[in-house]
Subunit: 326 residues, 2 copies
Amino acid sequence: LLGVTEDDVVAAIRRLVEPVPSRARVTLGIGDDAALWQPSRSHRSAITTDMLVEGVDFTRDAMSLEDAGWRAMAANLSDLAAMGARPVLATVALGVPAGEIEEVLALVRGIAQAAARHGLAIAGGDLSRAPVLTIAIAAVGEVRASHAKTRAGGRAGDVLAVTGELGSARAGLELSRRGGRPDGAAAEQALQAFRRPAARCAEGRFLAASRNVQAMMDCSDGLSTDLDRLCRASGCGAIVEALPVSEAARAVAALLHEDPRAFALAGGEDFELLAAIKPRAFEHLAQRFRARFGRPLHRIGYLTAQPGISFEGNPLARTGWEHFSA
Amino acid sequence: LLGVTEDDVVAAIRRLVEPVPSRARVTLGIGDDAALWQPSRSHRSAITTDMLVEGVDFTRDAMSLEDAGWRAMAANLSDLAAMGARPVLATVALGVPAGEIEEVLALVRGIAQAAARHGLAIAGGDLSRAPVLTIAIAAVGEVRASHAKTRAGGRAGDVLAVTGELGSARAGLELSRRGGRPDGAAAEQALQAFRRPAARCAEGRFLAASRNVQAMMDCSDGLSTDLDRLCRASGCGAIVEALPVSEAARAVAALLHEDPRAFALAGGEDFELLAAIKPRAFEHLAQRFRARFGRPLHRIGYLTAQPGISFEGNPLARTGWEHFSA
C-alpha cells in the first residue's frame, strides 16, 4: 500500500457511500472542508468532523492535554470557517484509556476553551474505553445559502490569497520535538501558534460574504497539499509567486538550520484560510480585510488553466501531512 | 477510580462545558440521546455521536468488520429514533492501524448499508492513524419542534413500554464469545440481532407524533441502566412488572444455562425504544402501533413518584454496559 494517500482512501470511501440514496437536502457531500445541507429553504447547515489520536496527531510531551483538546476543536472550527459558516454546536466523542478520567477532563477543558472563543456550544458526546486518548469532534455551523464557499469555484486568473503568515505552527512543532524551552519572543510565538492555533472564523465569514471570493478552504494539511486540492477541485493549476513566512518561522528555522519556506509550505495547522478571488476585486477586498482585521490579506499567486503548481519556477510537490503515505 | 460510572464522567464534563455561552438556538444539550438545536423557527435538528473502539466495543473474532460498521451506524440511528427524528446525514471519523485500508473499507461498507436502510447520507468524514480500528460517527436528523421527545417528560403513573422483545442481541453476543456456530433458528436469530441490529427509526417517529408519549429513549446500554436514566431525568421511580424476553434469548439462555431475564435487563444494543405514555392513552396507542408495525408495544410497568426501580418486588440494580466501572 506504499504510496496510498489519504485522498485515495477518501475516494474509495466515497465510491462505497455514494450509492446511498442521499436526500436532496444534502447539497455538498464528501470531499470539501465540511458538508452542507438544507434544514429549510433559506438556511444551510455545515458539518465537519476531525479525529485526533494520541501518538499520531498529538503527544503528551509536546503539549498539554488542554492544548490537544484546543487543537482538536480548532481543527473543526477551521473547517467551518472555510465554508464561511458561523459555529453553532459540536459533539465530542472521546476514547479514554483505563483510569485516565483526569486526563480526559483536561482534554475537555481545552476543547471548551476553544469552543467558548467562538461561541460554539458543546451539545453532546460519547465516551468509550480506548488504548490511547482519542478525540473525535463533529461541529455544526450555519451559513446563508448564497455565502457558502467550496473548494471548487476557482477559475483561471483568480488571485490566490491567504489570511495570514504561514509556518509558525510548524516551527512550534519542531521546537517541541527537540525539547527544551528555547528563549525569545519568536520561539514563544511559534509554540503558542502550535499549541493554541486560532481558527479564522471571522475571516471566513468576511470572505464568504463577498461574491468575488470564488473558492475557499483551510490550510490545515499544509499549503502545498491544500492548494493542490483546491486546484484539482476547481480544475485549475496555480503559480505561487510569494510565500508569506511568519517572523517566528524564520527565527526558529534559523535556530534549527532549516528552510523556513518548508515550514510555510508543508506545515499545516496554522489554520489560515486559502481563497481564490476574482482578480479585479482583489485590491479592494484586501483593503477592506486590512481595515477590518488590522493585517494584510496576502496575495500568494494565481490560478492557471494549465494543471500543476509551480513555485519559484519549479513544480511544487505535496509536502503536507499525509496519514497514509509510506 | 473504582466505582466511577460513565454518568459520573459525563456529569463532570458537563460542568466543564456548560459555562460556554451556548447559543439560544441549542434547545437540548448534554445528557439525552441526542442534542437539539433550532436552525430556523419551525425546525429542530438533532445530533448524536457514538464512538466504537476495536477490542472494547467490538472484536474481529465476534463479528465481521462490515457488522461492526453496521452496529456503529445503528447506534447513532437509534439515538435519532429516540428523539423522534428522521435521519438526514452523518459524518464518519475513522482511526486506522497502519496498512489496514481494506479493513477500513469493510467498516465503511457496513456503515453505508445501515445508513442506506434509513435513507441517511454519509456527508463527510476524517481519517487518522490509530493503534486499533476506531469509528466515531455523528448523525443528524430532523424533527418537528412539537414532536421532539426527551428522557425528562415522564410523570408518575405513566405506562412504561418498549417497542420490542429484549435480550436477543445479548444472547448473540454470548454465543459469539463462546465461539463455534450453534445450529438452530434461535441461535441464528440471536446472532443476527447482535450483528445487524435494527434501529427503530419508524417506531420512534410514530411514537414521537403522539402527544401522549411523554418521554422516550433507547435501551442501548441495557434496560436496567437506561430505565434508571429515564427515571432520574423525569424525577420518578418505576415498577417493572413484565419483561418481554425474546424467544431467541430464552433458547440461547437455556443452551448456556444462563438466566434469560439477565439478557433482557442487562443486554443493550437490542436498540428497542423505551417510552413513558399517559396511562389512559396507552391501550389505543398500542393498538395503532400493532396495526402499523405488526407487533405489540410491550407494557413493562409504570412510573412512580417514589424514586428507585423495583422488579419482581426487589430493587433493580443497573446491570447494563458501563465503560467506566471497575
